[in-house]
Structure formats: C-alpha cells, structure tokens
C-alpha cells in the first residue's frame, strides 16, 4: 500500500490484538503496561458481574474485568491458560481477562472501518471500528467505555 503522508488519516497506530472466544479484538498498545498469566483474584462485594475481583500486581491492588462478559459474549471460566492484560486507562490501572494475546500490529487509522450498524448498544458503545487484517476482522475496543463507570449500578 503506498504511503500518503499528506493525509492526516494516514497516522500509524500500534495495536495489541487478542482473542475472546473465537473473535479478535484490539486496542492501542499505549494502554498496555504488561501481560500476566491468570492469578487468583479476591471477590469484590457489590461489584458488577464482569468485575471478577481484585488482583495484586507487585503491591498495587487493581480490578480484573472479564472482557468477554463485559462485551456480552458469556462468562469466562478463568484458568491457567487465560491471560490478563494490565492496562492504564484514565489514570487507573486495570486488568482485562482475555483468552489469549495474539499479536502486536501496526495499522493505519484510515484503514479503520466503521462499526457495523447493528442493534446492540454494547457494540455501538464498546467497538470503535474494525480493522481487516489477513482477512480477519479485528475489533477496536474503546477501553474508556469498557471500564466500569462510577454511576454503574452495583449488582
């Protein structure tokens, strides 16, 4: 693909892609602090169901979210094969439980296709768009939206 620097939409972006179920997702690698294997978490009372619990990352206490459940793709039964992506979102550190981390890719923002016009509010809220990489659809997550908001009703 020819480079067209004149276009502002040609901005490159590095993303980390990962799998939830058999779907591929990604977000900006700038958010990612590190990737950890699954560790036991401590259950949080009065938390939304997708907040699995709190984990200890070298003395920092941070919540771990079940991304699959958050996206409406069913509850994950976490095991040693799952990974937690530790990410920094809006001054907070959070862990995202996913099935596997696939790749680190360089994409161009102008290649981002709009989110399909579907009825699920979750799709509209959490998916910012879609990249087509090697004939696979990789969904770009809006990490800010995925994080539990303060006004979220508690379970």
């Amino acid at each position: 693909m020819p480079e067209t620097h004149a276009l502002p939409t040609a901005t490159r972006q590095e993303i980390v892609s990962f799998a939830i179920g058999d779907q591929a997702f990604c977000f900006d690698i700038a958010h990612v602090l590190e990737i950890r294997g699954w560790t036991r978490t401590t259950i949080l009372p009065h938390a939304p169901d997708y907040v699995i619990g709190m984990m200890n990352l070298r003395g920092t206490v941070l919540p771990v979210l079940d991304l699959s459940l958050r996206l409406g793709l069913g509850r994950t039964d976490p095991g040693p094969r799952h990974v937690i992506i530790i990410a920094r979102v809006d001054d907070r550190t959070v862990g995202f439980l996913v099935d596997a981390v696939s790749d680190i890719l360089m994409v161009k923002e102008r290649d981002l296709l709009p989110t399909p016009d579907v009825s699920s509010t979750r799709t509209q809220a959490y998916i910012r768009g879609v990249y087509t990489i090697d004939e696979t659809l990789v969904r770009l997550l809006d990490v800010h939206q995925v994080f539990p908001q303060a006004q979220d009703p508690v379970a």
Partner: protein, 763 residues
Amino acid sequence: MSELRDLFFQECDDLLESLSSGLNDLDDASGDAETINAMFRAVHSIKGGAGAFGLDALVAFSHAFENVMDDLRAERLQVTADTLALMFTAGDHLSDLVDAARNGTEIPVDTADSILSDLELLSQSVGGSPMDVNTPEPDFVPLAMDFGGPLDLGDLPDIGDPADPVLPDPLDNAALPDLPDLAAPAAGVAAGLPGISMSFAPTSELYANGHDPALLFRALEDLGDLTVRADIAGLEPLGVGDWRVPMLVWHLDITPDDGVDLAAIHEVFEFVEGLCTLVITEHATPNAPQQTAPTPLLEFAPPAPLSSSSSRSEPPLPTNGALFTDRMSSDGPPPNDPSPLPDTTPGNPPHSKDSARASTIRVDLQRVDRLINLVGELVISESMLRQSMKELPHSASKTVEEAMGQLKQLSGVIQESVMAIRAQPVRSLFQRMSRTVRETAREAGKSARLVTVGDATEVDKTVTERLVEPLTHMVRNAVDHGLETTDIRRALGKDDRGTITLEAAHRSGRVVITLRDDGAGINRPKVREIAEAKGLVRPEDDLSDSDIDNILFRPGFSTATKVSNLSGRGVGMDVVRSEIQSLGGRVTLHSEPGQGTAISISLPLTLAVLEGMVVTVAGESLVVPTLALREMLQPGQGRIERFCDDDRVLTMGTELVPIVDLGLALGYRRAPVDLNTLSLLLVEGNSGRRTALAVDELIDQREVVIKGLEQNYQQIPGIAAATILGDGQIALIVDTDQMIASACGGLSTTAMEPDQTKVIHHA
C-alpha cells in the same frame, strides 16, 4: 514558574516555623541573640522571596517586621511583654499574608495597617540608625526576576525590556574596539564623578538564580544619574575560557538623586547579595581628590582588581570615602551594617547554623509512598518465599534457613525505617496551636499560655495533617471552657495566666498526645443537669464520674451557657472524637475539679498500617480492624434470637445486639447459614452502637498494610480498603462503621452508601 512559587511557599512554611519557635523561645526567656538572628533571617528570607514574586503586601509587612527585629538585635529595643505580644501578632499576620499570597486571596488591609503602624512606631520610637530603620516604606524597591514566564508583577516599577539598548549588553561591549590598557592593574576605582561608585562582579549563581544585571542597573537608574561601564579584562577569547564562568565586571557610578541614600542603593542589590562581588565606594565630597582621574577615557577606566568572579580578595581601594564590602557571610552580618544581609536568597535553601535543617532534604511524598509500597512487597515476597521453602522436601540446608532468618529481619528493619521517613515531629502542629491559644484567649478575654512537651515526637505526616482540626477545637475548648477568667483565677490563688500544656510521647507503639489545662475541671453536676435537660440521660440513671465526663463526647451536647464566637456551637467534642477515631485513635478524658482537665489522644504511628483480625467468610479472607473489636465469641457461645425475616440478634445480658452475617452482607453467599456454626465478632462503632459480625473462621491477628481501592477502582459499600496477605492474596478490610449502620437499617446497599466518615481515607 509555579514550581519556584511552590518552593517559595514551602520555604515560607519552614521559615514561619522557625520564626514561631523563636518567638516561643523569647516568650519563655530561653532565647538569646542567636534566636533573634534566626528570626530576623527567617523574616528577611520571606521578604526576599516575596520581592522576587512581586508580593508587595508581604514585602512591605515583612520589611517593617524585620526592622523591629533588627532593633532588637542591635539592642536598641528590649524584649518586653508588649513588644513580644506585638511580635506574636505580627508573626500570625505574616503567616496570614503568606497564606493569602499562596491562595491568591486578599486579606483586610486595616488589620495589616494597624499592625504595620504599631511595628513602625516601635522601631521609630528607638530612633535607630537613619540608614535602615527609618527608611520609608515606599522606598523599598522590589526586584523583578525574569523567569521567562508570564508573571503578574503588580505595581512593580516598570523595569522595561531587559534587552533595552540603553543598557550595556555584554556582547556589545565585548565588541568595542580600542580598549586601551584594559588588563592593566588598576590603582583603584576610577570614579571621577561625585557620588557613589560600584564595582559589580556577578557569579554564575547570580545568573543561575534568574537575576539579570541589566535589571539591576535599570533599578539603579531610577535612583540617580548612572554611568555603566563593562570591564572585559577578564574576558577570554572564545573557545579558550570556561564559558560558564562569568567574566564581565561592571563599574557603575551614580550621582544619587536627592533623598536617595546608600541604603537605597544597597536595597537594589539586596537579592543578589552573596551572588556577586560588590564593592560600593562612597565619595564623601565631589571634590575629593581623585588619584585615578588622569585617565580621560572615563568610559573605559582601568578596572578594579576584580577581573573575575573568583577575585574575592580585599580590593585595594582608595579610602577617600566610606567603604562597604558586601559578602555572603555565614556568621551573620556585621553589627553595624546598615543594610542587613540576607542569609538566604530566593532559590537558595537556607544554610544557617540551624544544623537540624541543614541535614534534611525535601522529598516528594509520592516517592516515599512508592518506597513504602515496594518495601511492603518485599516483606510479602519474603513470606511467600518462606512459605514455599516449607513445602520443599526437608533437604533445605541450615545455611538457607539462616539466610532466610536474616532476610526476614532485614526486611523488617527496612520496613520500619521507611515508615520512619514519613514521620514528622509534632512541633509544627504544636506551634499552630500556640497561635490558637493566643487568639482564643484574646477573644475570650483570658490570659493563657501554651507549654509544649515532647514536640520532637514523630508521627506520620498524614496523621499530623489530620490532627490540626480536632486539636484546634480541643485547644479552643480548653481555653474557652476549661480556663477560668482572670478574676476567678486570682480569687482562687492561681496564676493569673492559665496554662495549656500540650504533650506528645510514644507509648507502646502508639503516639499519645495529651492536652491539659489548669482550669476549673469539668463541672459534673452542671454537665449532668444539661444532659438531663437535653434528654441525653435520665434523672434516675446512675452515672459514674467518667460516665458524666463522656457525655461531653455525645453529639449535640454543649455546656456553654451562651454560644460564644469560639466554641459552644454544640458540634464540639463529638466531632473531635469521631475525627480522632477515623484516624484509628482513641480519646480519653480525665478531670479533677479545681485542678483542670486532661484529654489524651492515642494514635497509631502511621495510617499506612492497621491492626486487624484476619477472618474467612465463604472462602474469602477479610480483615476486621482490631480498634473496633470488643469481644469474640466462638460458635455456639452466644444466645441468638431470631426476629422477622432473617433478622437475628445476639443477647448480651440485657443488651440486644444485631448480627450481620458478613457472607450475606457482602454477597459472598445467598442463603443464610446457621449462625450457631459461625464465630461472632462484637464490634463497636464511632456512634457507640454495637453489632456482631458473623464470620466462618478466625485466623489470627496481625498488622496489615492498607491499600486504597479508589485509586484503581471505586469505593465499595462496607469495605474500607484492601490489604495484601502473606501469601500475596488480597484481603478486604471491613468498614465496621458502615456494617454497624447497615445492621440497624437493613442490609440494603443504599444504607451502606459510602459516607464521609470512612474508616480509612488513605492508601
């Protein structure tokens, strides 16, 4: 820019503290000449910094204050009770001014004016040296420093563009051709003009501190007819010399305008003193013989032997005028120096004789917190390692055992030492109270003094910060309610002046702060009477003395018959107690009629750790703060009665205590469990209400490091914070107060909405 400003205000805090401690020393007659010197330096440094930031009100006030102290230092003025009272007031006002400047607020001018005129009256009354003491206020010229940022200089004199071509730019001068005999050693300063000659050699620090010679010269220009000559003798060819060392020396001749004296010129250089070599020569008369006059080239007169900044030797100058050599002098200015030298300049940390300060550094609190976190991790890793060692086959050799023992001990010591970094002496806290005592006594028309004991006792910074309000309240109460009026005291044969004692001491891993007054003590019959009138107790209740004393801590109780300006709004001691309790502290009160009242606060050394009981509920570990814990009951030990729905109550004699099943309350299980199989923890909250918490198992009691939840998540109803246990697992710390509140209002989450008086506010 704002960083510099912050630094200045931080320094102001330190300086105000040393001023205040000096005043206290003078007050109890333990002060000496050095005390006054230290106070002078403090005020002078505030003035210096304030000038740099264009804080005119602060400059004017500290200038007047400083004059009084200069008189004291020169013994033109004696320390009397009246002087001291004024100085205390002035010190308080100075601190108000600093606060106002920091917050960008205004304070009423009239109070300032009255103190200011009192101060000026005081210094004028002694008719001190005309040089300094009587310098009229407006003559003080604040200097603007160019920090390269936008800065509101207020009403500062317009100094103009630093690049103004009128002023000699070092490079322009360097480029001037035909400079005869520049390097020739000079016989002296060639000042053919009547008036004052100066030789000014800046050091690199002067530039580093953001000063600009051009600005100084411009300020001088306002004082009279100024001639500026640059001496480039010290200039090395480009590429040879060390360009970081200033090589230029300026010679300045000024014919002062009427009314401008030497002191005014000194003031121009006030903020660069110690950053330059400055020689000021005053020519007594315009006709004084000038040996150096032969050179017709006044513009390029032979330089004084100040070829570079390193030339700090006494310059051989003609002595046909008064000669002043200003130098940074660490042992204070010479006694007759008309213009007091600052010991510090803005941006330069004080390096006075105060050795306690000289050996300290300023560290960002966040860095310390990070260190504390990491050390906490180290301790946890150590215990994890120990755990996995145990699981190894019994082949682990003795040396490994020994090494592990050492590691454990070391990490313990490191943890303790790191915690000690955050510790701060309670001195500054106590000093704030001395102001409260003065003000309250004045308002209440009483005479009182504060005596502090053990003010070097160290407490975690966060604890001292949060003690300010409750302690202020207690001190006000002690002066307002505790002390009798002067007349009554006299009639009782007590000292006219009441004494409030603040004492701090370490006792068995906690800090105990005791506030004592030598007043009338608690009037128990009256307390009881009021409590009965307010319906807090019943007339038939049998109350011990301490029961009655504790009524003072009940919400809505106030003994003041009339609501004074100071206390007695009925939000007194109960607020104090709940605030202390939220810090993990306990308040006890002891009163002797006629002898006075003592209130003791016992506090944990730090808010970063907490003593807790580790329990399990539905497989999850939880920590219940020991502070709230009153009693523990093994399964089946208590009599449990069931009420409607799942409400169950523990009967303790005649008392019925509601039971909260933590597993249900926190949503760990849905179905109720037979409470007779659970252990019960009897907890008591700030309100004095009790609740029994049902848990599966008691593990053990230990100290835990508190980790906030808000940082990465949000507050959770019923949970105060989290901690990390020895195996690396997170355990949540139960908010007992919220649990107690929820027990009385059902288990709905709305009843457990996080409230303001959370047990732990801090990570």
